[in-house]
Symmetry: D2
Subunit: 442 residues, 4 copies
């Protein structure tokens, strides 16, 4: 380890994150980690010791875990001097026969002990889940401690390899699934809260489908799940969909599948994406079971709508809306029929402009501001319809004044949409939404 | 791609391995591979296209596959110029706050399109098996085409991540296992040929156990398997163990487990080791089921014995053996009692010296020449006993004049043995074997 | 069909149960049933037709079903004349070689078309459940229509053959069981209501076990289930056991298993007993998993206690209790410590006498009046302890003034207890309960 | 037990079947059986004792088993006096309200202890299989000891209830099925011997299907199985079907399913029929998987052909065949083309007459003599085509001079065929077979 690093680590250990971790403790961990990294006594023993260390980690509080992860991140990285040598040899070999071995040697020099250690932690029961949760810890500490980032990047890269979509299993979840799994859906649902077991049962009825991706080593842990309603129209209200007293639709007659909720469940897998594959596989599965299905669409929230509106009063004015957003979110206006009609019209225009014109700072500034729009448009969907009062729940009113949107997955144009969205930021839009985006109230 | 590379690739394509692949075909593959690498039209589409390409690969002959893999290896590697820039930034940042991002950036610059493409091939059904088999192809071509090595190294590294022992499932295989799986054991058994379904059934009887490691995405493909006999003594003859007419031993009375055959099955996983973990897990499982078990040992072949003897006539002489190895391998001597006693004594001494003194050129020259010895001694076993006529089959006579050996897994000394073997090349040996190694006939 | 029967059937069909079923409808059913009985067009077709008829049955209301079942019971029975002939032949053959064939012939003459028809109904999906439910219907109609009894007896006999304990599977139910199954436990629990999914989860925690018997053809339908608490003492309060906030007991330390709730779930299986086998198999399973278990006991209700007390005011007086049972059931007395002590003492004496002396009219008048006592004592358990305020729920207070009882399953004395209970009605009792039963307040 | 019976039993016990069973042993069994019958010590204990007795049975030789079963058959039957009383009461009650209870009482009087005892044997592991095998024993002894018949009849009736087709599971068996199950197919195949595991694998290839019925309590024991070839023509040669080197047919193009082997496996289930249901369910399953299938037919043997021919020389003569059947069975004639053509023509005529005109003594003399014909015609199939040299194996030549026959299952005419076959013995026949049956050579 470079001298400078030791200095900096010590300075940090003496204060801040690892304040309450005793130097003696750090020394012990350091020694144990080194033994794991060297596979002293053989790989089998090393893994056994790593498992013990992983158990230790589980018993630490946040301060302890943070210190432990810092230790790995800072002290078990590659050796810059060795990297320099390997790099020089590589560049010298370019174009010659020796280039290939030199490339491999450079790669090996960069391979750190960090990831070898973390992988050994995998030996505890449910080791994969352990590492996913460890990354979730890491991401929390990372916000205020950028020096954890090399460990985070390496772990993300390893998790991306492990959670390659080719390893994931698509499973349909039903009322006959284990309660311990269903309980997790209740916990993880991130879009429209599941209020009770009855609510959940309703979402698993014969006119519904719920699919999740699983990793073979995390058997009762859905990684991401999507809730689908089978129906005969482009649904415009989530309250209608979630009404437990609504009659059950005869799914054999369905021509439309509505994806009305998609939830990622594992914070520790941030950056490892599989949502687009999930939708693809679900559509395949639905087509097999319901050959009459013609339309695949979402009923989606606009999570950034109200905060964007707050920052863009001129847009509110252009849409003929008062700047009092609290009143708009309170929703009293919805009770007056005439007022509701006018407000909904204005909100529709505003939402159309938000979705088509508001840009995120990310990428090259061409990506939509709204994260849900980014996801579906990036997958090739078309912005199909704006639904005022599509989600009249308190949360829906607060987030987007009740507006929801349908993204339509037209299988014939998916690939082209993906391409032109990626290349030029083009947003596929229905004529109706385009019209709305152009309209102004004054 | 650097200009030089293109030149060299062209020169090769014009001759040698890719002789019969038309340039037009190569161009088409190149374009398709580039589309996969860039994920044109989105990840989902890219993977669909990659799957099609993987299907194409399956239909190619060896010449075609070789050319295809060369293309990936040579044209989809990292860009040396980009690596140089990233490396300079990294070295400049060492010791500063920017070191961590610079490390990640250098790693990213080294990350090649090769592995991204191969991983996408994973999307075909049984994609993992496809990649393992593709690596088996690669290893064959590699012998005569070292330029495939960067692709091989990257693929090995990815497979090592995927086949981490934490993902493997230990399964006991019985006569109630699927025939399609049992058939593979017959095919894969590499030590003592399984001659028939009856032979196999005998090896799955109540006094036997057969365990294998599986990967969750290769469900009917054992990766490695071990055959165990439950008995009450240190077995000294594989023919006795495999005798279908021998009475079945009451396994509840067993105090000894003999590992009499260990077979790796997937050439494509060369370099990814899990044999040591297999034995560890099998011992755990056996101890749970048979609490009276006290001894765990192998009955192992000496695959390099006869060829070493051929090259070391002075050792033959020292052991009092004639230099006519063909006669020794023919085994007629075994029929004459007195001659057999004398010959076996000599062979025992010879084998003891072979196992304890003959060294491989690998590592730092301290590793045993015999590959089976390397494996078990490296795992911490002790060289326990030499068994002349332990394998009187034609193959056994040819390979090692019938000699077999027991390696003993003494759980109390495993870790120490591993350590001193790794550090100093020390071979743990029983007193009896030590004595044999010292004895000379003249 | 004997002429008299037709008359009687007609008279009934013209009025009463089948009043609203049109004669034409009855004629049609009669014809269809006859076709099934004769297996016209072959067995396969007959079963297909029977399945259609079973579907018809499912769509009928109670009046229709009653008429339908009457038809089967009255018109598809054995022919008395044929029975008479077969019987005469049988008696004539007794002692001769022809006796055996004659016995079989008599049995055949008694074999009715009724059961053949019902068995064919088995062909619908979930046919076994259909027949169990059909018997539940039958039992309801039987109360007011004794002429259904031959059909009921034949169906009971067939169900007893099908639900032979040798066919039943003991399954442990956990929180990982399918929700659709757990939901049924909530519905079927007959002793201590399961108030919520959280309550249920608590009953499936690591210090609890829940076992059920299943029939292989009714996969998600528990036939009977028992809830077990693992603990270190003879539990005396069901509220303590069901307290969701109570700490979880470390089951590995358990020496006592408390069966605190046993529920039969299928009315249609009345008369087919398997409760005793369930307890036996559960005890076996628990002993395997928890070798330290020494005591197996119930915490049981006294369902007939308060109604017996009402009818036996002299017993109340003897125990020193006021005749105002409503006040006793209201339970206000439990709040006054001194009063509670005195009342509990009195109730304990009263309960001891109820359980040991109150007899049912059934059997030869030696069976206990209390049905739960009959069950456990008949299985060989010992009446171990009376627990005043063992169930302080409104239902517990109403049913038994809060008293519960422990029946102890002492494996060494089970068989003897069964025998002396069966032969002489002897109730195995602990010394403490015997003492209570003798005590009087005045 | 009636005095006479005791006498007769004793006389038998003193000699014959039970000669070597000591009276003391018989007394002990008698006492044990009586305890089981009375459920002394409770049902649970009785069943435990019965299980012990069942184990005893398994260790007996044939003489012992025969004696044991005689004991049950003769001594644990109904009491004729009690039956007489119940019968009198029943007849007196006919037409009155008491008829129904009287019917049940008579049935109860006839219910013997025999079946109660046997059912208790069910408690041993694999108890159902035990009883099926016990019946197989019984059937062997029955041939020479008619007094076992009441026990046999009762057991058959109980097995018929247990093996009701509604309980049976249709399973497709593939090369992925457990070896222990596949091994049983090899053992049980009764029509065309499975010569090796390779032969079996060929019968499970992608252009084949193999289905079996299973009972939920006999999981690895097929009750009956059928082998199906998917093809595009009405197969006429079993050797062609079983040729391991024949190319695999693309099953998706199949329009014809050939049932070329149906084997009952459990002797102990004689009289319990499910073959017709098997074919029905298999046809349903095949239609689901291969919507293009139009034709369902068998390729069947004529097991009684040669022995019928031997007894009917006049038929041989009429068909223009020499009376030397040994020569006909030797099959040398098949090598001479002209002779083969002529012989085959004659054999076809002879077979047509055998199948349509030779009657069994069973039923009312209208049933075909050939058992396979009885089965398929009774199921509604049509006698479609005669295939000379359809089975040129030694067994096929011996049994039927190589002739095989196709029975065609035309779903539209099945029910009518069943009915007219049952009513009038009409054999559904193709025009071609009718023509053959009429032709004479001279």
């Amino acid at each position: 380890m470079a001298e400078g690093l030791v200095q900096r680590l010590k300075s940090i250990v003496g204060a801040g994150a690892t304040a309450s971790v005793k130097p003696k403790q750090l020394d012990q961990w350091r020694r144990q980690l080194a033994e794991c990294a060297e596979a002293k006594g053989g790989e089998v023993s090393a893994r056994t010791r790593a498992a013990a260390l992983a158990q230790t980690y589980l018993e630490l509080d946040d301060v302890g875990r943070h210190a432990f992860l810092r230790l790995i991140s800072l002290e078990f990285g590659p050796d810059p001097a060795r990297v320099a040598t390997a790099h020089a040899a590589y560049q010298a070999a370019v174009g010659s026969e020796r280039q290939w071995d030199a490339e491999a040697a450079l790669r090996a020099a960069l391979r750190s002990a960090r990831i070898r250690i973390l992988t050994q932690f995998n030996a505890i029961p449910q080791g994969v889940k352990f590492l996913v949760d460890l990354r979730a810890d890491l991401l929390r500490y990372l916000d205020e401690d950028a020096e954890l980032s090399p460990l985070d990047r390496e772990l993300e890269s390893r998790l991306a390899a492990w959670f390659d979509v080719g390893f994931l299993e698509l499973q349909r979840i039903t009322w006959a699934s284990p309660a311990v799994l269903l309980e997790k859906l209740i916990k993880y649902e991130a879009v429209h809260e599941i209020r009770s077991w009855t609510d959940l049962k309703n979402r698993l009825d014969s006119d519904r489908r719920l699919y999740a991706f699983f990793h073979p080593r995390m058997p009762m842990e859905p990684l991401i799940f999507v809730e689908v309603a089978l129906t005969d129209h482009l649904a415009d209200s989530v309250q209608a969909l979630l009404d437990e007293h609504a009659p059950v639709f005869d799914a054999r007659r369905a021509d439309t599948a509505i994806f009305y909720s998609i939830s990622n469940t594992q914070t520790g897998l941030r950056g490892v994406s599989f949502g687009n594959f999930l939708l693809k596989r679900v559509i395949d599965d639905l087509q097999r079971d319901f050959p009459k299905l013609r339309h695949f669409a979402t009923l989606s929230p606009l999570p950034g709508f109200s905060s964007w509106a707050r920052k863009n009063p001129q847009e509110l004015a252009a849409a003929g809306l008062e700047p009092d957003l609290a009143q708009l979110a309170a929703g009293e206006w919805a009770k007056d029929r005439a007022l509701a009609r006018k407000t909904n019209e204005s909100l529709s225009q505003l939402a159309a402009r938000y979705l088509t014109q508001a840009k995120s700072g990310r990428g090259d500034g061409r990506l939509p501001l709204d994260p849900v729009a980014r996801f579906h448009l990036g997958n090739g969907a078309r912005l199909e319809r704006i639904n005022p009062l599509g989600d009249a729940s308190p949360n829906g009113m607060k987030q987007s004044f009740g507006v929801m949107v349908n993204y339509l997955y037209d299988l014939d144009e998916l690939e082209e949409n993906v391409e032109s969205f990626a290349r030029e930021g083009t947003i596929a839009t229905s004529a109706a939404v385009r019209r709305l985006a152009r309209q102004k109230q004054n």
